[in-house]
Symmetry: C2
């Protein structure tokens, strides 16, 4: 009888700090998601509102640069909007994990969705970087000229909007790591 009571005591002793650590992880998860929303939404808005009209004529016929001239940048805006939308929808799940720190199935679902969104965001950010790099440097072998001499403010804007996305990628990797640590302690 005594041994049984001791075992029961041991069990509840180890389960209380476990729940506490998991709650802490879930709160951190919630905060990281809020930061990621700001980053991705900021990127989408910064890129989506980019528009430059040159005050003079150049040797090219057009003298206006917008983000949707390049399909890759349109994809960037769409992907960042999808990811920030997903992050807003995942906030209730994150709150649920703060309340119920022992939940398992919902954590696996969240790891899977987070990983998929990490893939989408990385794809959008790196494809956009490849195009932004080309806009800055051009490529002599392929006869693609740098367009940043003509469109300076446009180029600065599209370069800056990448920052939020790459921040979001790092946050997603952290979120997956945190969820798997919490899962192993359930």
């Amino acid at each position: 009888m005594k041994a049984g009571a001791l075992e029961l005591g041991e069990g509840s002793k180890t389960s209380i700090p476990r729940g506490g650590v998991n709650r802490g992880i879930s709160i951190l998860d919630f905060i990281l998601r809020l930061i990621a929303i700001i980053g991705t939404l900021g990127s989408a808005i910064a890129m989506g509102t980019t528009d430059e009209t040159l005050p003079f004529f150049t040797q090219f016929i057009r003298f206006r640069a917008q983000y949707d001239d390049l399909p890759t940048l349109t994809f960037f805006v769409i992907a960042n909007s999808i990811v920030s939308g997903y992050l807003v929808l995942s906030l209730p799940m994150s709150i649920f994990h703060i309340v119920r720190s022992g939940a398992r199935a919902s954590r696996i679902v969240l790891i899977f969705l987070d990983t998929a969104m990490l893939g989408l965001l990385t794809a959008a950010a790196s494809a956009a970087s490849a195009i932004v790099y080309l806009a800055h440097k051009g490529n002599a072998q392929a006869n693609w000229f740098a367009i940043c001499q003509q469109f300076k403010s446009f180029c600065e804007r599209i370069s800056g909007s990448l920052i939020g996305s790459f921040g979001g990628i790092i946050l997603f990797i952290l979120l997956v790591l945190l969820s798997s640590v919490a899962l192993s302690r359930c």
Copy 2:
């Protein structure tokens, strides 16, 4: 005493199928890693050996296309080599998980590394896709011309080599999911 024996029996009953499922997951993990090695290594080799010399002169000065003319494609080859190297090194870990299906810490490490490699591979594949798309279609607004009219076999080769990478991305998402399922059952 009887109740204690019953409890012990219950415990071992539930732990055997759990271990069995985890072993199955670990074996599947090992097979998926082998497929991913073939995909990413194949992509790296297909892209790295691309080289086309045109049999005639064009209006451009150069008449030879290689993958390292475009920095993004060089990044693609390097990233695919790194990921396939990582996958080879992760095989012993995967075998360790087949033998010891209850391992936790090493699974968390593997989830983290897998997610990081997923990020690297996605970045490389999508940046290369953005450039391949540009090579095929060009962009009238930025005055970038399609180069695929001149370099047909080069374009087919670089388009085909993307397939292995995108297959690898899907496999990595599955690997992270499998690891987290196994982790929740430890």
